[in-house]
């Protein structure tokens, strides 16, 4: 076995050193009734050649020839090959949480840079070293808001990613915090009148998508104003982080917390995971923040270096009093995003964001020509919902041609008749103009 270095002689010598006769004896502390005395019922071992062909066959049964015309929380973007070649350096991907900073400066400086990128994009003061994903980051944001405000009511827009809201609900089911969901208007933005009603003195957080699940740039400033008035925190949720290259930073619009995922930078879709969830907030909340944080310090010779810090918030120190239970996070995906953002830089991000906006216009135009209008009137970035009649039918029809058409919104909003024919589609830099044309034509069929 290529992963097991032990020769028969090694095993014998080591058993002697340990003073045992057999490998089985190593487990004598396990009562016999608790031992498994049959081979596990899993397939027999495969050699590497068989393994590769088996997995190639599996992979071939996922149709990915054309980039999907959807985002809905996970976006098809171009990842420059250089990103992955750097990620593959074993010193990065076979390391673990940098508990020993002197020999983990690479991971630590990388995380410090990640935190800085998150702060720059969100316009907030501090960020952590990553979360599991956007959904759990949203739930943790709600919990942090509850701790900070000592209130229990979470007000969330119905246009926030439905998966995120489901996870939020699942988390809060055990904590006794309550959730009030606010409807969206014809423009696909949070209904501000309804929001105003929902927000009160018991409100810990107001959660808005930015852009929201419909691809609409939601009324973050207005929502933040209402929240501030009520003494609640505003949580901005972003799953298409490229938009933050074009849109005003959430922090600059009044958000106190910004969460979501940076999957759009440096990370393949990988059927939805892993992704770099992010969490940023204002300085004042830092000691209530969940997760790891890298910080700068000096070594005993005065040279700058980095360490994990403020760990008195964390489970390994505070145990049941910790701000969160998170331990392993999404480190490597955060590093991937950091590398991609470093490559993009100021010019590149601006260019990429404008390009995505432009591709969104091309998609809208092509669909209009094909006879499909927008479901919502609000402003969009690179994603928008179209009126296509039988959305599910369209998806099925295009699937037969190997095209992933988009996400029928009725799946998440079964009770909203307006959603019946709504198909959520996205176009990015990977969708060449010709492909966008072809897509629109195919939707018409």
């Amino acid at each position: 076995m290529r992963y097991h270095p032990h020769t028969p002689e090694d095993v014998r010598a080591m058993l002697d050193a340990v003073g045992l006769k057999s490998l089985d004896e190593l487990f004598r502390s396990i009562p016999e009734p608790l031992r498994l005395r049959r081979p596990l019922d899993v397939p027999p071992a495969a050699d590497e050649i068989a393994l590769l062909s088996e997995f190639r066959a599996l992979a071939a049964r996922n149709q990915v020839e054309h980039p999907p015309f959807m985002g809905a929380g996970c976006y098809p973007h171009h990842v420059p090959p250089v990103v992955d070649q750097l990620l593959l350096r074993g010193e990065f991907f076979t390391a673990y949480t940098p508990y020993q900073p002197e020999i983990s400066q690479g991971t630590l400086q990388g995380l410090f840079e990640w935190q800085t990128f998150v702060c720059l994009l969100t316009g907030l003061d501090v960020a952590n070293a990553s979360m599991y994903d956007g959904a759990t980051a949203t739930a943790e944001a709600a919990l942090m808001a509850a701790r900070v405000t000592d209130r229990k009511k979470i007000v969330v827009g119905a246009a926030v990613h439905p998966e995120y809201r489901k996870v939020l609900a699942t988390y809060l089911a055990s904590t006794g915090d309550e959730i009030a969901t606010v409807p969206y208007g014809q423009d696909g933005r949070t209904d501000l009148a309804a929001l105003e009603k929902a927000v009160d003195g018991k409100t810990a957080a107001v959660i808005v998508g930015y852009p929201n699940f419909f691809g609409v740039v939601d009324a973050l400033p207005e929502a933040a104003a209402l929240a501030r008035k009520a003494g609640a925190l505003t949580v901005s949720v972003t799953s298409e982080a490229v938009a933050l290259g074009l849109l005003q930073a959430p922090g600059a619009l009044g958000a106190d917390v910004a969460v979501g995922t940076m999957q759009s930078f440096g990370n393949p879709m990988s059927f939805g995971g892993p992704v770099p969830g992010f969490f940023a907030t204002r300085e004042g909340n830092v000691r209530q923040m969940p997760g790891r944080i890298a910080g700068a310090t000096v070594d005993k010779h005065g040279r700058r270096g980095f360490v994990l810090t403020l760990s008195t918030r964390e489970q390994h120190i505070r145990r049941e009093k910790a701000t969160s239970n998170i331990c392993t996070n999404s480190g490597l995906t955060a590093l991937a995003a950091t590398i991609h953002l470093s490559l993009l830089g100021k010019k590149g991000l601006d260019q990429l964001a404008r390009l995505n906006f432009a591709r969104g216009r091309l998609l809208r135009e092509a669909m209009r020509k094909a006879g499909f209008g927008l479901r919502f009137s609000g402003p969009t970035f690179n994603e928008m919902a179209f009126e296509v009649g039988e959305a599910e039918a369209v998806v099925e029809r295009l699937a037969r041609r190997g095209l992933a058409a988009g996400a029928p919104l009725s799946r998440w909003y079964p009770d909203d008749p307006r959603m019946k024919g709504a198909l959520l589609c996205a176009a990015t830099e990977v969708h060449a103009p010709e492909l966008i044309e072809l897509f629109a034509q195919s939707v018409r069929g």
Binding site: A17, L34, M70, L111, M269, K300, E320, T328
Partner: protein, 522 residues
Amino acid sequence: MANPTGWKPGMEKGSAPAEGPSAPGAGGATRGLALEEPLVFEQGSRGRTGVSLPAPGSDADPSRELPKGLLRGEVEGLPELSELEIVRHFTRLSQWNWGIDSGFYPLGSCTMKYNPKSSEALARLPGFAGAHPLLPASMSQGVLELMWRLERALSEIAGFAATTLSPAAGAHGELTGLMLIRAWQVSRGNPRKKVLIPDTAHGTNPASSTLNGYQTVQLESGPDGRLHPETVAKAMDEDVAAIMITNPNTLGIFESRIAEIAAIVHQKGGLVYGDGANLNALLGVGRPGDMGFDVVQYNLHKTFATPHGGGGPGSGPVAVKAILEPFLPLPLVAKEGERYRLVADPRERPRTIGKVREFWGNVGMFVRAWAFIRELGPEGLKRVAELAVLNANYVRAGLRGAYHLPYDTDSLHEVVFDDALQKEQDVATMDVAKRLMDHGFHPPTVYFPLVVHGALMIEPTETESKETLDAFVAGMRAIAEEAKRDPAAVKAAPTRPLRARLDEVRAARKPVLRWTPGMKVE
């Protein structure tokens, strides 16, 4: 290890004496060229970029559509560098890092085993990496089949009815497991208030219990490092929703009375949660499902060799007995004839607790974990446990006498020593850990579990060779000797890495958590 490169293992006093370099450490550590590297934000020049992007192919102007107030210009502070500059930046950063590929990494409780490179190639196949989570089932049969097979295999390996793949890491699995327990208790009329957790438990256990709205009751483990039924019986009552047990526990000791303990808890209407982080010790040898556990989480990034990535991502599937199955979070993968599909609609599973993660879980880790299971097969998996336990016990035997062994009970995949013997020279666990770097080893986990003062928690894993363990033992013993002979040298460690001991107190006192223009840290 034979040592033909012209050096005798030993250890330098302070820095290199004029007459020549000092002898490398037991792990071959010496000093070589290293390069300082500023933050990416501290480099570059206006107008540079490291990407090549297509033209928009349209003259769309955002300001025509988006309210002015919602638009921003270029993001101030972003770096501006060429691709080569970025490549050098991250290449240098990586060179400051220690990974399993660098050398021995016996970080206790983290199961730092070799991460197969073939798995990296497989996870990057476009069919997997390029799959959108909302692809129609007809377009994603390959990945759905893989998830289904992995779920079946995991359920078999730990001996349970079903497994959810959703949780993103071990702690997330704990949280999910406790949610399931809560849902079950609620279904029986009352969520209950408390969760029993032994003092040897990992910090995530109490933290997860709190996050679940439960109050943690800590149980004392016995002088043999085990949890005793009497202790549990005393604490167990109708307010207790569950007990969380790690088996083998964080001392590497098997909770041999688990069956009695489970009976006590069950008898009073509680459930037994198993923290499966240490499953590496049991693969093919014993199954939590056969020991009285009702629910357990796996750490795919430990037992199943998916890379730790400098802190993540991980994956923490949760396996349950049949009674908890109805509550599993969505999605599940269903096989209908030869077709696979995601069951994601709560209307199909009305009692589900809901969802714990967006989409379907850390699928990239599933690919790697399944590849690991496929390559090892039944015999290989059992061999993993045998060799992991053999390695740990071999190190244990090798360090006896040189370091104090707080619990002399049989241990499995890891062993915990402490600094009691070194304390006399005022040398602490942290000093030993740092000195190990100078020898060429990653330190073990330190100061955990909390029941051991100054714990040194060593988990070699099955992929390490006898030679490596011998070298590690030699290094540890050399440090023990040095602690007597020259404690100052040990306390001055590390002397070989790019950075000497870092000031963690300062980091917490004056937090600098992000780059800001002109930032100075001195």
